[in-house]
């Protein structure tokens, strides 16, 4: 594996190997070794064409805990807005000797372009490209599910996961569908029909337009961030109507099964897709997702840059 552009780059075994490495890294950290020397002298560039403080500091923290040098390159104003082109930016990073480039970009496919174009020889890690994929988010979500539901071998057969919200525009949803299915879970997409992608029948998922009928039968309820401006594009009539039909409020939270968990990739719109009750409940694993994000990203950097598949 030279790049991580899509969950499709990972076989089931490779995904489990990454998750296992992440768990081992967690054990080492808890043992008091917060910083490992593994990537000393290697440089990791965080190339962010979109603002995302959370994802950037998660990758930065992961790289630093492996002793890599980190360069943050905030390149807002990509060629999409006719600034410097992706190609020129990439060649600049190449000239500076980057070993890995973590890219967040508003255009779907930008990470793959960077990896395939021949502009650069570094490993490319997709930290979210447009409405396409966000593979490390899916990995950290799978890690968190396994941790909270005590599935130590990452075999998710029989697990029922509902992904709720703006599936159409969500890279988190696309990557999660791919990875959860790879691990054996049964995925249900829950959204108004306007926010379900065309051709979803080929994804091998269930689709349910009615959150109330689904919520009591799920082991994992994964809420997606909804942009309230979507109503201006006629995807739903109003933020309040969306919230009433697809928000995770106290009533729906109370109908969830005893062991089930609530996830959210953040940042949350409290009061819109998730109520404060739900966000702060015992079922919410949102902060564990943040913690695990660093471990999973350490595992990705470790495997890509050291070439080793385990510690």
């Amino acid at each position: 594996m030279n790049h991580l552009l899509s969950v499709n780059d990972l076989s089931k075994e490779a995904a489990i190997s990454l998750l296992t490495t992440a768990r081992e890294l967690g054990v080492v950290s808890e043992g008091g070794h917060k910083k490992l020397p593994t990537l000393r002298g290697r440089s990791v560039v965080n190339l962010f064409f979109e603002d995302s403080t959370r994802t950037r500091i998660s990758f930065e923290s992961a790289a630093k805990r492996l002793s890599a040098d980190v360069i943050n390159f905030s390149a807002k104003g990509s060629s999409v807005s006719k600034g410097e082109s992706l190609k020129d930016t990439a060649q600049t990073l190449q000239a500076m000797g980057a070993d890995a480039v973590v890219i967040r970009h508003g255009a779907s496919g930008a990470a793959q372009r960077l990896a395939d174009s021949g502009w650069i020889s570094a490993s490319v890690i997709n930290a979210g490209d447009g409405t396409h994929e966000h593979p490390t988010q899916a990995l950290l979500d799978a890690f968190t599910i396994a941790e909270k539901l005590e599935i130590s071998n990452f075999e998710f057969t029989g697990l029922r996961v509902g992904i709720v919200g703006d599936i159409l525009h969500s890279r988190v949803a696309r990557s999660n569908v791919l990875l959860l299915q790879k691990l054996g879970a049964q995925v249900t997409l829950i959204a108004p029909p306007t926010l379900i992608p065309v051709g979803v029948h080929s994804w091998g998922v269930d689709v349910n337009f009615d959150f109330d009928s689904a919520v009591g039968n799920l082991d994992v309820v994964m809420m997606l961030r909804i942009q309230s401006e979507r109503m201006n594009e006629l995807f739903f009539p109003s933020a309040r109507e969306y919230s009433r039909s697809y928000g995770l409020d106290k009533l729906r939270l109370d109908r969830m099964t005893a062991r089930s968990i609530v996830m959210h990739p953040g940042p949350m719109n409290r009061g819109l897709e998730i109520s404060a009750d739900s966000a702060d409940s015992q079922k919410s694993v949102v902060l564990s997702q943040v913690t695990n994000g660093v471990l999973v990203r350490m595992a990705v950097l470790y495997q890509l840059l050291s070439g080793a598949s385990s510690l």
Partner: protein, 429 residues
Amino acid sequence: MSYLIKAATLSDGAVVDILIADGKIARVAPDIQESNSQIIEASGLRALSGLVDLHTHLREPGREDSETIASGSLAAVRGGYTALSAMANTSPVADTAGVVEQVFRLGQAAGLCDVFPIGAVTQGLLGEQLAEIGAMATSSAKVRIFSDDGKCVSNALVMRRALEYVKSFNGIIAQHAQEPTLTVDAQMNEGEISSRLGLKGWPAIAEEAIIARDILLAEHVGSRLHICHLTTAGGVELVRWAKSRGINVTAEVTPHHLLLTDESVLGYDAVFKVNPPLRTEADVHALRAGLADGTIDIVATDHAPHPSEDKDCEWQAAAFGMLGLETALSVLVSTMVETQLLDWAHLERVMSHNPARIAGYESHGHPISEGKTANLILVDPLAKRVIDRNKMASKSRNTPYDGLTLPAVVTHTFFNGALVHEVDRGAAK
């Protein structure tokens, strides 16, 4: 200069000699003896009337970095075209007599083929006010085709008026069928692949809704409608229905929509970004069937050069369009002739005769026969070539076929009796 073409095979299979003199086809007969002409051995070569393109973006005036009328003309004759129709979306837009006359004259100055300008339907392609269609029609360029191509004349009243207005000189409106409200920021065909790739979809219905509306408008006002670059199975059905009702509609298909599908987009290589977008396998089959059964009248290239910086970038940032002039005939031989969907006579009709008749290009698109203007080509149907983006006559390199081996090589192109293109046949094999 006169030329004697020996033992060429006409599209109907007859093997003949063809004598070209004084710009005309002087004789067509089995065995012509003539000593003062340059002899061209054409045994095994097909002789076809020169190809006619009704949909070419030549970028001049305005974007001479991506193509000029001269470079586009050279690409044309290499591809076997003796007549081009320059689309109006230049800068400035070809919406006045001055611009269309300039384009026409630049074509004559290049001297390799005829370049007939297409006039804009509306001022600035904005879809609001009619351009001075009459002035363009009566200019020295004698414009007959009007199109806002690249943009759709989406306002139904504007489209109705345009269809009616051109009736006075038997003009035709060529519509780029794309309902704009259904295709805001659209990037590729809407379907399973766009959903997987996270690229905003351009649904087939956005094309079909406009085709359906325009067919009914054309029937209502009794005008001629031409539908540019048909891409969907549903669109083919609509045109078939319109023709069965006797509505005066013609339709074109591009070579790339006959060969490529939206699966080409999977690697996000923007060379495959084109408008209308590459569709599905089922659409490709429907287009081929439509061309074979006469529902689709012509092949048009939609040759759309772009500089590399507009393609060598993120998909979303890239320009729409691909080269077509130098590869069109090869793609048609590959998709339609070798598959036995079309014979050579039918191929000659859809690439030469029919477009010339639709546009009224009188010196083009006639069967090869005595007395006609000598616009004709010779084609080696058995030769193969590997397409190389760096060896294009076009100033741009955005061919989607780079590295692909395609059949048929245009060995000679005659324009008004002059030999304007010839390949070294030893090298072509």
